[in-house]
């Protein structure tokens, strides 16, 4: 029986029929999605922190409203994704508890500090750029609620990348000091952005199953290559240099060759030893704990109003 269900499930996937929350699914499919979607949601929420750092210090009002809107979008993206993950049978509070205990991961890139205003440019351009590469194929993921959430996310990401690139462009057309700031931000964010696509294909054990289930449509290395190929001309327009001595056009492949990623650094940051891991997690835990009284008060208020409403109805009925 189990075998038949799984075969029927795979057949639906192969025919590009979306899976919806109450449909039968293999337990491992459910768990894989739950892990991926909740981690994605956590990344959006933790991702607000590095940029939130610069809202009060944005150089002018135009930059400030744009950055505020962007950070608010990240909150929205986190909420779309939590809502999709909840359809798989885990509560919001359970997911948050996993984030706060360190059991659930989020994207490592957010464990790097934002040292200058130029980092707002580099994050929008590179980090959101890499996220878009990853996310566009997810709009066709086999699980309906995830795919629909990703469509909403992708519609909004384009603004994020353009606002970031515009910050870089303005700095690069400014004083030599401003251009140096942009170069410095590129130097610090390039490699962490490259790592956002995850381990190399031959070192990514879960990819095959996710591909078979059509959760994943392109391999990590394919997406990374795409990212390099579009980023090189974008850096050229800015007139700044990608910090990779091995970066060069390969005529035969029709792609740029690039240097080796420092996977030791990646593994260290994933393991919790990045520059800001502790700070990021503490900010989330503090927000949760300091907000407890607000959550409780809102429930108490709703209950009181409900009770008052019932009393009025009873009086009227009597």
């Amino acid at each position: 029986m189990e075998i038949n269900l799984e075969e029927a499930f795979q057949k639906r996937i192969d025919e590009e029929i979306k899976i919806e929350p109450r449909d039968w699914m293999p337990e491992k499919y459910r768990k894989t999605l739950l892990r991926q979607i909740s981690q994605h949601a956590h990344s959006e929420i933790v991702g607000m922190l590095p940029e939130g750092n610069w809202i009060t210090r944005a150089p002018n009002l135009r930059r400030k409203v744009a950055l505020l809107a962007k950070v608010q979008d990240e909150a929205g993206h986190g909420l779309y994704l939590y809502s999709a993950a909840e359809t798989l049978g885990m509560t919001r509070d359970e997911m948050l508890a996993e984030l706060h205990s360190g059991k659930a991961k989020y994207s490592s890139i957010f464990n790097y500090p934002t040292l200058t205003w130029a980092d707002m440019g580099a994050i929008g351009w590179l980090v959101d750029g890499a996220a878009i590469m990853n996310q566009v194929p997810l709009c066709r993921a086999s699980y309906g609620p995830y795919a629909r959430a990703m469509v909403r996310v992708c519609k909004e990401e384009s603004f994020h990348q353009r606002q970031g690139y515009e910050i870089m462009l303005t700095l690069c057309q400014g004083t030599p000091e401003q251009k140096a700031m942009a170069q410095d931000a590129l130097n610090r964010w390039w490699w962490p952005s490259m790592m956002m696509f995850g381990p190399n294909d031959d070192n990514s054990p879960n990819s095959a199953q996710s591909t078979k289930w059509k959760i994943k449509r392109f391999s990590n290395d394919e997406l990374r290559q795409k990212f390099v190929d579009v980023s090189v001309p974008q850096a050229e327009i800015l007139g700044i240099t990608i910090p990779d001595a091995d970066l060069k056009w390969n005529e035969a492949r029709g792609h740029y060759d690039f240097g080796v990623i420092n996977w030791d650094e990646f593994n260290q940051v994933v393991a919790g030893n990045g520059p800001c891991n502790k700070q990021r997690l503490k900010a989330r835990v503090d927000a949760w704990e300091n907000g407890a009284w607000v959550r409780e008060a809102a429930v108490a208020y709703a209950e009181k109003r409900e009770k008052r409403k019932q009393n009025t109805e009873n009086t009227n009925a009597a």
Partner: protein
């Protein structure tokens, strides 16, 4: 510090006058007022709607996916309900 989780609400948005409300996702809120305001902030940041419905998820009832085939079977063999079932002369043009 035990927290009672806020109830889950399903959100439906009317994109513009003349269209029906369409399900867009869900969110948590303590009461209906908060649910509608949160729905505005989460799902209509770029003028995606002119009207919002929220329904507490526990009040939503649905057909059974596992019975999909039997349940929708009655309509399956009634092709005469479709206009293309009727063969008419070509010179009739648009009917």
């Amino acid at each position: 510090m035990s927290n009672k989780e806020w109830p889950l609400w399903e959100v439906f948005i009317r994109a513009k006058q003349g269209l029906n409300h369409k399900h867009v996702g869900s969110l948590h809120a303590a009461d209906v007022k908060m649910a509608i305001e949160n729905a505005r902030d989460v799902y209509t940041r770029r003028m995606e709607g002119v009207s919002i419905w929220v329904v507490e998820s526990k009040n939503l009832h649905a057909s059974e996916p596992s019975e999909q085939e039997e349940f929708f079977d009655p309509a399956n063999d009634k092709i005469y309900r479709h206009p293309t079932f009727y063969i008419l002369p070509e010179e009739l043009n648009h009917m």
